[in-house]
């Protein structure tokens, strides 16, 4: 009866498919998991030490709403150096509580009730609820494995209506590991510009690109002011638990988005911000080392999965592979449940990321080679029955 007291939109939100699977996996002991969406590496120690020092130095107060000026300056330099993006520390940037807050802020700032937002499935589980909570209507484009889960011009064109307000992009992608190169984006740019589409671009995996440099839609001057770029420290700097991200956009967007941020958050955690400054100043070599490790693990796991008969394309980013399980005749939920039951290995059903993920599973390689090896051996045993 208490449900009736609550907001209907919230009550109607579906729990994420990942959550359901987590509950199931959690009932079992000794599970070998390839289901985690965060780095296995610990945060580089220089970052931890800088944060600890900031606390010892009594830097324990709120910061400026938009984040410490020194941190914004470092982010600005970093984006210029790494991706040739010009964002001013003063005018174009807010430090947020992870990329997650930035996603929520963007959608709330952009959407009016009934506005349509294009989401690319399979996609990260938070986009759809975030759109719904902001009063928007999610419209899905189903990305295809034969296109390496890239967005095509035709798909984009077909999805746009006169109610379309924004599109959420996430490349490199969780869950597919797919990326969009400069050439892949090019044909989309005129369409975005013609329709004045706001592009909410979640680039949290930008550093984790293995063949060629990451490209942002904000790299296209024609649409740069339509782009809200979201990134953060969780993946590249192995700082998931610190909850620190950032949002970059044109000056007007920032001024209004910052109002939501200042009323609901005030400012991102202070110690985390000091840690991040150190990360940006002196942490690149640790990031490079981790990226190198992910790349080697990617090579290893893709070969392993293909060898045991699960067709897997070589993704160019993030730390996930997205193997095709259709030949087993199982749905992705059945596959993952039985794999857990029979071999005690946890992967995430592709359908947790939307209908377009059906027939696939998400496998994380944020694990050591030794762990991946054991998991592949067990999955190979599981696959025997489908021969």
């Amino acid at each position: 009866m208490y449900e009736e007291l609550l907001n209907k939109q919230v009550v109607d939100l579906k729990p994420s498919g990942i959550r359901k699977f987590f509950d199931l996996a959690n009932t079992k002991k000794g599970v070998i998991s390839l289901g985690v969406g965060e780095p296995d590496f610990a945060t580089p120690w220089n970052i931890c030490e800088a944060a600890i020092y900031s606390i010892k130095s009594k830097k324990t107060h709120y910061t400026a709403n938009k984040g410490l000026p020194e941190l914004r300056k470092e982010v600005s330099l970093y984006l210029k150096k790494q991706y040739d993006l010009d964002y001013s520390a003063e005018k174009n940037m807010i430090i947020t509580v992870g990329g997650s807050e930035a996603i929520d802020l963007s959608l709330r700032a952009v959407l009016e009730k009934g506005d349509e937002v294009i989401l690319l499935q399979p996609c990260y589980v938070a986009y759809e609820p975030a759109v719904l909570l902001a009063g928007g209507i999610p419209k899905f484009i189903e990305l295809k494995s034969e296109n390496e889960f890239k967005l095509t011009k035709e798909q984009l064109q077909a999805a746009i209506t006169d109610k379309t307000k924004a599109i959420v992009l996430n490349f490199p992608s969780n869950p597919t590991g797919g990326v969009m190169t400069h050439e892949d984006y090019e044909p989309l740019i005129p369409i975005i510009k013609d329709h004045n589409l706001i592009v909410i671009s979640d680039e949290i995996y930008a550093e984790l690109c293995y063949d060629g440099k990451h490209c942002s839609p904000a790299n296209f001057d024609e649409i740069k002011d339509l782009v809200i770029l979201i990134s953060g420290f969780s993946k590249a700097f192995a700082m998931t638990g610190w909850r620190l991200g950032y949002l970059c956009a044109n000056e007007t967007f920032i001024a209004h988005i910052n109002k939501i941020h200042q009323y609901v958050i005030m400012s991102a955690p202070t110690a985390a911000q000091y840690g991040a400054i150190e990360g940006l100043r002196n942490g690149q070599k640790y990031v490079d080392e981790m990226v190198e490790q992910y790349k080697l693990r990617r090579n290893y796991i893709v070969s392993g999965f293909n060898r045991i008969g699960l067709k897997t394309h070589m993704p160019n980013g993030a730390f996930y592979i997205f193997p095709d399980i259709r030949k087993t005749g199982l749905t992705s939920v059945e596959f993952c449940e039985r794999l857990l039951e029979e071999q005690n290995v946890a992967c995430v059903p592709g359908s947790a990321f939307g209908n377009a993920g059906e027939g696939f599973i998400r496998v994380s390689y944020a694990y050591s080679i030794e762990e991946i090896k054991i998991a592949i051996e067990k999955i190979a045993l599981f696959m025997e029955q489908f021969k």
Partner: protein, 163 residues
């Protein structure tokens, strides 16, 4: 093939199988084998060792880091004296150093007495050696990049499944 990557993989884990290395480096197993024997022949790969925490193995072992000063020799510099020192099997590792002593010599033995005897009777008597200063190891925290006694730290405390 990226030789440096192969080397750092083996440096971290010499037990990686050839087929695993082939997958990781996206090469054929034959290529990997060939490359490894080439590197072994050239002594780029000088051995395959295991990092052992002897404290846990209930084996009596004492190590010492000995600073050794010496007078370099015409024609040979430090190398001849060094060769007279590292020839002893007690010497586990030896470096020529900048700083206050010429050599650092890592020595292993069963007891402190054994090491003291070695220093007094052998090391200090090598021609050209002018002094020694012996530092016994009390506890080994980290070796070859591995934190020993790290059971608590190394446990994966991530949740089993996350978005």
């Amino acid at each position: 093939m990226e030789e440096n990557i192969l080397l750092s993989l083996l440096e971290k884990n010499a037990r990686l199988e050839v087929k695993d290395l082939a997958d990781i480096l996206q090469e054929s197993e034959d290529n990997i084998l060939e490359k490894m024997s080439e590197l072994e022949k050239e002594k780029v790969i000088s051995g395959y060792h295991t990092v052992i925490n002897w404290d846990k193995a209930n084996v009596d072992k004492v190590s010492a880091l000995i600073e050794v000063t010496c007078q370099p020799e015409r024609e040979f510099g430090y190398d001849r004296i060094a060769s007279m020192i590292y020839a002893y099997s007690e010497v586990e590792t030896m470096y020529l150093m900048s700083g206050r002593s010429e050599f650092i010599v890592m020595v292993e033995g069963k007891t402190m007495q054994e090491i003291s005897n070695f220093v007094g009777a052998k090391l200090a008597c090598v021609d050209g050696v002018t002094g020694t200063s012996t530092n016994f190891v009390l506890k080994k925290y980290k070796s070859a990049g591995i934190v020993l006694d790290d059971e608590k730290d190394s446990a994966d405390d991530r949740m089993i499944v996350t978005p």
